[in-house]
């Protein structure tokens, strides 16, 4: 325990030194390892409007984290309580979307964009858009695939909308709940430096689903290779946002548990993408898609289909 305390003190010392040396530096040092402080801080020179928030976050990083879930002071049965979850402007929402689509290595989405102001606007409306995008794109894609066939009669397949809605909202809200519960449980056993509130996790998951909207629209293209390339590409982008967010939260834990957690997060994300592709979009040549392992055998698949 003495070692742990000394470790923490040395981190504070470094942070104080850096702050003294360069007052304009943005320091979110409490959750970054001591050995690479300079790289992190130089990268965190964000545009001016972020500085105030960051300074507020650094006078007492511990308190910021503790208060992360507690800044709403209105009682939960009043309307004002829920208004605090929608306290975002247009440019903030657009920034968060941008941050989820272009992840920069080393930057943590929550620390950088959410910053103790998690909102429910993004997750809710991105999920709603995704539901309808997948349903509409699936319908359009099936229409184009079956267009020339004489026996084909177009159907709107409206029932799939409710299925899509259930799946996506369940993923975007239940998986964060499970993950948050799991992280809280691990926090009680192992002293983790970084912890997230439930809303911040919901926020990350919600914004990370944004990449699937253009992906779903591009899935209309009836080429297997194109679709799988899109799956892999969007999985890399949003998966990396999730990994970079949650790795610091499990890093201090048992190695195997940390890897298993991050692996499960990625696996569920991949399952969502692949499942949606398989269920809503018919295979381009009406034979059911081969095993769901893309990659090194991809070329053999396309030579067979034409």
């Amino acid at each position: 325990i003495a070692c742990l305390v000394m470790y923490l003190f040395s981190e504070f010392d470094d942070a104080a030194n850096l702050l003294a040396a360069n007052p304009d530096a943005t320091t979110i040092s409490i959750d970054e390892p001591v050995e690479i402080p300079k790289n992190q801080h130089s990268r965190l020179q964000e545009p001016g409007r972020e500085e105030d928030d960051e300074l507020l976050g650094t006078d007492d990083s511990d308190k910021t984290e503790l208060l992360a879930g507690q800044k709403k002071s209105a009682p939960f049965w009043t309307f004002e309580y829920y208004q605090t979850f929608f306290d975002v402007d247009t440019y903030q929402v657009l920034d968060r979307i941008k941050g989820s689509v272009f992840p920069v290595p080393g930057k943590n989405f929550v620390r950088l964009y959410i910053r103790s102001n998690p909102d429910l606007y993004g997750p809710f409306w991105i999920c709603a858009t995704l539901v309808f995008t997948i349903a509409v794109s699936g319908n359009l894609s099936n229409f184009f695939i079956h267009l020339g066939k004489p026996t084909y009669h177009y159907v709107p397949e409206f029932r799939k909308v409710s299925i899509a809605a259930t799946t996506i909202y369940a993923y975007a809200w239940l998986v964060p709940l499970a993950l948050w519960g799991f992280l809280m449980w691990r926090n009680s056993k192992v002293m983790n430096i970084v912890s997230y509130s439930f809303l911040e996790i919901v926020c990350v998951y919600g914004y990370s689903l944004f990449i699937y909207i253009p992906t779903a629209i591009l899935w209309i293209i009836p080429q297997k290779v194109v679709r799988w390339v899109l799956v892999v590409f969007s999985l890399c982008l949003s998966g990396s946002v999730l990994v970079m967010t949650f790795w610091p939260a499990v890093r201090d834990d048992n190695r195997r548990i940390a890897l298993a957690t991050v692996g499960t997060i990625l696996l569920l994300h991949a399952l969502l993408a692949v499942g949606c592709l398989a269920y809503f979009f018919d295979a381009p040549e009406l034979d059911f898609p081969a095993p769901i392992i893309p990659a090194h055998n991809g070329t053999t698949v396309i030579t067979k289909s034409h």
Binding site: Y82, Q83, F85, Y121, W125, T129, V155, P156, E157, F158
Partner: protein, 217 residues
């Protein structure tokens, strides 16, 4: 007074009136009591109010009639007629067809409620029912589009009819979105307007999609 030298009062303007204070026993409700009037008057008044709002939707101007005297008759009539017209689509199985009556109803009302809640949570100053009223009334262009689509489909279901339907639906979708935005945009905080307009766009897009993909038996 020199300035009034050329002012003259025409002799045939009566200048008379009554200056009496109404006595307490004169019931204040007498002018507003609608209990004794013929049923026809009651119905016609409401119908006229609804009709006036329809006109305001079709020719959106900066008027507050929709907002001030909100009512939900118009949205109900529009929603029911739209849901009825969307029936009768063909399907191989129950799962593949178009939306059922209840689904259309739920989408329109639940969608309107969610959008209203969204705009209020973002800090809008409009009241709940006013917003529901505006969103409901602005479904009128899309109902007209559905009517046109069904008429066009009576004539045939080929490519030409699809193109006509597409153009009509897209035009009415634009009209609906612009009309509702015109009425609702002013009550939103200025740096969040896009956040409020986008769900309205999505809402009318979904309704337009349901109309466009309607295929008859």
């Amino acid at each position: 007074f020199p300035g009034l030298a050329d002012v003259s009062i025409s002799q045939d303007i009566p200048v008379e009136g009554e200056i009496t204070v109404p006595v307490g026993s004169h019931s204040p409700d007498e002018d507003y009591s609608t209990l004794d009037e013929p049923v026809r008057d009651t119905i016609m008044r409401d119908l006229r109010a609804v009709g006036k709002k329809f006109v305001h939707v079709m020719y959106p101007r900066k008027s507050s009639a929709l907002l001030r005297d909100w009512d939900l008759w118009g949205p109900l009539v529009l929603c029911v007629s739209l849901a009825l017209m969307l029936q009768g689509g063909s399907a191989d199985s129950k799962d593949d067809g178009g939306p059922q009556f209840a689904e259309v109803f739920v989408i329109i009302w639940f969608g309107a409620v969610v959008i209203t809640l969204n705009s209020k949570l973002l800090g809008g100053t409009i009241s709940f029912f006013q917003s529901l009223c505006v969103l409901g009334y602005c479904v009128l262009p899309l109902t007209v589009a559905m009517l046109v689509c069904r008429l066009v489909l009576l004539a045939g279901a080929g490519t030409i009819s699809f193109i006509i339907r597409l153009i009509v639906v897209v035009a009415m979708f634009g009209w609906s979105t612009l009309a509702s935005t015109a009425f609702l945009a002013d009550s939103q905080p200025p740096n969040r307007k896009a956040l409020v307009v986008y769900p309205i766009f999505l809402f009318y897009f979904v309704i337009s999609w349901m109309i466009l993909t309607f295929t008859p038996q």
